[in-house]
Symmetry: C2
Subunit: 201 residues, 2 copies
């Protein structure tokens, strides 16, 4: 009995903070871990930028509503869910992902939470746990599931390594080069075929 | 961060074997654990009845396709998934539940598997694990989720007891009487309200 675990941003939807930067016109929100490798500092910076621009939960939600799944992602998810159980493992926040999850037909999502105050101000964030993707794969395997996984970035490699079969999907060349054990896959049809091959093993 | 775990049969859909008995006209398939308390013996009997009547996977799947969610269940699931992550924990089999899961919009389902041979004959079944509902709740809690649960029967009481809040939904009076700790709820709106109260705690 098989479960597919998928990363969200870069696999099914665009990078959310980049999309929010585009929607709000605030270029500083485009900062990524390449600009600030310390995630806590990066998030403090992002939340500070939101506050400076008087963007609370309502404004961020409004911007998030205009994020669409990547081309083909919704059809891919429909095909995938006809064959496998699927759980999305992401390091984003429920509040940012909620609108686009509706467009993907509400797959189960494990991620983190923003701390939203009474008047809608975003006060901080709560990581559900560190390295939760790897731990979720192990938990599912302990429940006697085989797990196939796909992601596009460094924060997916724990999940890919723990899975019974793990694939890079649309990953940058430097990420692929650093982890030669994970076969790189570039299109949704090829990813479905990769999972089908893994399921036959 | 909250996950709702729901039993399937009796909560979102009718009892599958009873529905298969109705669809195929084979009354013997209506047998339940009340007739044969030993689950292995009951399943051996059911699979023997299928074989005697030359019903393989294709015929069972055809009958299963006519099973509909209980009235209001699809709307309830839509409302639930707008507010919580949801995982269905059931002791049915993927092969029997698959068609009605499509009608419920593909929620994630943890259950068991029928052993289907090359020519579609149903040779046996594979339980993913014993008491998997309780173990799934514990696994989700270890991933730092709060878990709210609802079910209608004795095989749900481990899940309800493990959950941060557990409710009987449309349970028979004798089940409710045996487990007075689990508040009984009778309609989908009341179940949504019960989860909302639990989430406030």
């Amino acid at each position: 009995m098989d479960i597919v675990c998928l990363d969200l941003e870069g696999v099914l939807i665009p990078e959310i903070w980049v999309a929010l930067a585009d929607r709000t016109g605030i270029a500083e929100l485009r900062a990524t871990t390449r600009d600030e490798p310390d995630y806590d500092k990066l998030m403090a910076f992002r939340l500070d930028v939101l506050k400076k621009n008087a963007l609370g939960y309502r404004e961020v939600d409004e911007a998030a509503k205009s994020i669409d799944p990547l081309p083909g992602a919704a059809d891919f998810m429909a095909a995938l869910r006809a064959q496998y159980q699927v759980i999305i493992l992401s390091d984003t926040f429920y509040e940012l992902a909620a609108p686009v999850m509706v467009k993907l037909n509400h797959p189960t999502l494990f991620c983190h939470r923003l701390d939203v105050g009474q008047s809608g101000e975003i006060d901080g964030y709560t990581l559900r746990m560190t390295d939760h993707k790897t731990k979720a794969v192990h938990a599912l395997q302990a429940l006697n599931f085989r797990v196939f996984a796909a992601g596009d970035s460094f924060n997916d490699t724990g999940m890919l390594g723990a899975a019974n079969a793990g694939f890079f999907f649309m990953a940058p060349d430097n990420v692929i080069a650093d982890f030669p054990d994970f076969p790189p896959v570039r299109g949704y049809d090829d990813l479905l075929a990769a999972f089908a091959d893994a399921a036959k093993a």
